[in-house]
Subunit: 209 residues, 2 copies
């Protein structure tokens, strides 16, 4: 499904919809009204109906939404019905923490390989992958054609590595480095990974408490 | 400023407003229209005006917003005009990555101390703090009265430590453990730190590309 004109605010609510509907689905809930979704999410029911209508009509007046169908549609919008693959570059503290603890499949991605230049790290098993030599990255990308690269290298090295990844056909970069990457003109989607929004929300709630 | 009835969707847009207005302020921009903000953020101008009106009137018809004043108000809403303090508990890969690389002050918090039980870590300088013995945590909290604790301990230990923190007067927990913490009834604000929303957004954009 392609939707070129989805507003930033609708996109920003998609993850909440995903979490909520996954939870309903795991609890064997069969149908849900926009009013119930509104209550769980803190949005208005009309906003939810309007958001969902951007992606096509999958609710019925007076019945609400079929959870299984809604889940399918939301996963489809998020590209999760065809799971994507990823590699990770830079196995420092953050890289290793992600490999060990982060639930990539829940986010729609399968981790294929991880790379570092540090010989003391190469060969170490972290989570589901074994750290490989950065020198072998090109070969692995050409063989396995991963969709996305998680970039957890030092900031100063980010731009050059991103450019290499773009030339090797990587279609998306999840950028933890804080560096500005200029690979969008090569058709690469770049998403800044940031925890600061979560901390800002905490600050807001602490200030209200 | 207290606003008891701010909807979840307005709160979810606050971080974007903060980043955008900080950037305008750093570039010495004096005033900005809701139309310009809308263009930068992907929201509609009327949504922005409506959101800002929840916090009081600080725009002028035909003039737009004074950037300095807008920044002050947004920082005030986020509790940043009175910076808060934090400690971090659990200096594994993720804890150390946060101490080394995460910009807590930009998020409105100053890091006072970090704790671990592992004697091989105690005494190590990471970022601006030196890892202290977890046994000394109570004393440090009683002396320095931090507002918030970053929880990066193993999941199985999270609930008990959260309960201890609540009893010691910690007012907020930034929870990286994935554990459900039941300390809200003790008046503690708990914010789940999650990168998955950023990854879901990446998946969406990759699917649209």
């Amino acid at each position: 499904m392609k939707n070129d004109n989805i507003s930033g605010s609708v996109i920003s609510r998609l993850p909440s919809y995903y979490h909520c509907v996954e939870e309903l689905y795991q609890c064997n809930c069969v149908r849900v009204s926009s009013a119930t979704l509104a209550q769980r999410l803190g949005y208005t029911a009309s906003q939810i109906r309007q958001d969902f209508s951007c992606f096509g009509e999958f609710g019925l007046q007076g019945y609400g939404y079929n959870v299984k169908k809604l889940r399918y549609e939301i996963r489809d919008i998020l590209g999760m019905n065809h799971p994507s693959t990823a590699i990770l570059i830079g196995c420092g503290n953050l890289g290793q923490a992600l490999l060990k603890n982060f639930n990539f499949p829940y986010g729609g991605f399968y981790m294929l390989a991880a790379f570092d230049v540090d010989v003391t790290k190469i060969g170490k098993q972290i989570g589901s992958v074994c750290i490989m030599d950065y020198k072998d990255m090109q070969k692995v990308i050409e063989e396995k054609l991963p969709d996305m690269a998680v970039l957890t290298v030092p900031q100063g090295e980010a731009a050059e590595i991103a450019s290499t990844l773009a030339d090797l056909g990587i279609r998306a970069i999840w950028n933890f480095t804080g560096a500005e990457l200029h690979v969008e003109d090569k058709g690469v989607v770049v998403e800044q990974a940031s925890l600061v929004d979560s901390l800002l929300t905490l600050g807001f709630r602490l200030n209200q408490a």
